[in-house]
Amino acid sequence: MGFPDRIERTVEIAHPPAKVWAAITTADGLGAWFGNEATIDLRPGGAAQLKWTGGPTVDIRVERVEEPTVFAFTWPIYGLADEDPRRTYVEFTLEPAGAGTRLRVVESGFAQLSEEAYKKAYDGNSEGWLKELGELVDYLDAA
């Protein structure tokens, strides 16, 4: 069984990088297409939050801000317990393509399992509620 660690997508968007940049890095933009509500402190180390109406609220940490080409953040692995320290890394790369933009998104780290997290998960008789699997499926549908 292959365990996917990394997801990559590239899309062509008929709008210039500046416009795409605003859509993915501002509270107004993120709250319009990604979540239903968003806040963002746009600087490396800054906090952002995405809320889905009737759904989850996700805390994000901004990692890279290189306007208008690279925007990256880390966020929790959806479906893992709240206290789980593992996070995936999401990087958006913007590149002019004619009058539009080639947008690439790479999310990596799904298969990570640090030695420490592994020990913690397997040594202890770890209890704790896990999120319902069904919630996973609905994750981004609201966007």
Partner: protein, 118 residues
């Protein structure tokens, strides 16, 4: 669009495989669901609650215990109680999380948002 995969260490793969094998059987799903919903139980408790014979439940519990998905512990009147182990489920959940991260829908929504705000 591309989808690349990397291999996990064999032990992690083995854990995920055991979880999905366990979940593929309706009787084992019912047993795991009962333990998740109502907490630790003996084979007799489970036989009372589920439309599965006690013998079949004992067989499935032995298999689940061997796979590390439940642990046996002493219960009342020297009966063995079985408790769900969440750790292997988390490994399987990571796999599901990657499958469920729906970037296709999100990126479609982004495109649509930019079209509408043009």
């Amino acid at each position: 669009m591309s989808w690349s995969t990397t291999s996990m260490p064999p032990d992690i793969e083995a854990i995920a495989e055991q979880v999905f094998s366990a979940l593929a059987d309706p009787s084992r799903r019912a047993i795991l669901a009962a333990l998740a919903a109502e907490g630790p139980a003996t084979a007799t408790d489970l036989a009372d609650r589920l439309p599965i014979t006690r013998q079949a439940i004992a067989k499935h519990l032995a298999l689940l215990a061997e796979a590390g998905l439940v642990t046996a512990e002493p219960g009342e009147r020297r009966r063995v109680r079985y408790r769900l182990r969440s750790a292997p489920m988390r490994v399987a959940q990571q796999f599901l999380a990657a499958l469920a991260r729906d970037w296709d829908s999100s990126l479609d929504a982004l495109k649509e948002h930019l079209e509408n705000s043009a």
